[in-house]
Point group: C2
Chain length 272, copies 2
């Protein structure tokens, strides 16, 4: 939304800006996941909603090269939800959290018109410094992990009244914890792809252009909520990073090189 | 809401239950403050909403004998809010935070139908152990700080289409940081009065009765969102605690003694 920048600037201080705030070796990240903003309730089962809400939040920690450990859960629950629905939602949240050995340690529950899942993730840095989305330089090689487009495909199925499984990328993104942890020291910067490659490229390149050496489809460019890693690698480290990807069995796509030009595309942040 | 207990039990583990979760010497507390649940938007100025939302959250930390340091802010903003409104809301949040030297370090902003303020407060314990709401024993003396009823009076004024000032207890509760910090080691248990004395007495006494030696009005019993401290004191420590109250210029009311009976009143949790 267009007011977000002005709000962030209202609270601007040296700790803000990245996916999470860092205090000592602890990373705090917070995201809200809200019915009719991020999903329609009839699209997803309560378990799927729980899985996705948690995964999206864990991704912030993973992208900063931190290990998530604890989660605080704020739930806004419409009064008409059954106990079974809430139980399954809880199970989805716990299932995704336990995949990353993360424990839900507290929170708050209120009643609300729309289903609201507000999560705060407490993570511990894997290295002295977090992996930042800032700092990429002209000449750095931009890469992304995995395959893009699956999230948008899932969304399109839902918009056409179809059903998707719990393993669809729209529900359960692939978080690249091992790869990020192992390769972070060789990276200049990194972030997860949440707004879509087109939009997030502008951020990782800091408004610079990219000389592409890979042809991408439109769906790969615009698919949001992918949560694959987008990284900038100094050329001297690219072999080491490719090697770590191989060890982790992660497909690493070399997208191109950052050039000294203004970015030509301007992604627009939007949910569905 | 009546589903809250079942939700908490879905996530039950040894870290849950009190106002905040404790990891090492860090306390994490999280509360949501939502339009039409906790307030009507026409009741309060955006600054007042910001002050109250922050104060309510800081109270959790104070009540556990912790010093709040950082806050994460999740904002759900209706699209029709002006930049001026958001700026004033931000100012209210920052004003209340700065009263407790607390810094807003990050968060998330989304658009939503209703105004949502979801805060996570990061605090540091003032002693080895947090002040818990559990553990009161038969014979302990139950006390509360300050005067009760001001919050409900403010609420009634608002319900009658009146206006209240930024210093009304409904907007700006008196958090008893110094007194709690100085007296915690002499207390058996303590909590803030958020659901009303009648309801919170059941919690602090663990469903036991109280032999009152103070007569209270109905409004003092039922006024919620007071955020004064409710404490249980072993009789041998009561003089020390009264002395700390005196030093801190906090009025400490001796309500009575916990007796070995079941509680006779059962408060009902409700917002307005």
């Amino acid at each position: 939304m267009d007011k977000e920048q002005s709000i962030i600037s209202n609270f601007a201080n040296k700790l803000n800006g990245d996916d999470g705030a860092v205090i000592g070796n602890v990373v705090y990240s917070k995201d809200m996941f809200v019915e009719d903003i991020h999903f329609k309730s009839h699209w997803l089962s309560p378990r799927q909603i729980g899985i996705k809400a948690m995964m999206v939040n864990l991704s912030d920690a993973v992208a900063m090269n931190a290990t998530p450990r604890y989660a605080l859960l704020g739930l806004g629950l419409p009064r008409n939800l059954s106990s079974k629905y809430i139980k399954e939602l809880s199970n989805g949240l716990k299932e995704a959290a336990s995949q990353f050995d993360t424990q839900i340690i507290g929170g708050d529950t209120i009643s609300s018109d729309k289903l609201i899942i507000s999560l705060t993730i407490i993570s511990y840095l894997n290295a002295k410094n977090p992996l930042s989305r800032y700092g990429a330089k002209v000449g750095d090689i931009v890469c992304y992990t995995g395959d893009l487009g699956g999230s948008l495909k899932g969304l399109r199925t839902l918009l056409n009244n179809g059903k998707i499984g719990a393993n669809s990328r729209f529900v359960r993104p692939n978080l690249r914890f091992e790869f990020t942890k192992r390769s972070a020291k060789w990276l200049r910067s990194g972030m997860d792809i949440s707004d879509g490659l087109a939009s997030d490229l502008v951020k990782i390149t800091q408004n610079r252009g990219v000389k592409f050496n890979k042809k991408l489809s439109k769906i790969e460019f615009i698919s949001a909520e992918e949560y694959e890693m987008l990284i900038a690698v100094p050329p001297r480290n690219i072999k080491r990073v490719l090697n770590q990807a191989k060890i982790c069995r992660v497909k690493l796509n070399i997208l191109g090189k950052i050039i000294n030009e203004r970015a030509k595309f301007h992604g627009k942040f939007s949910h569905f």
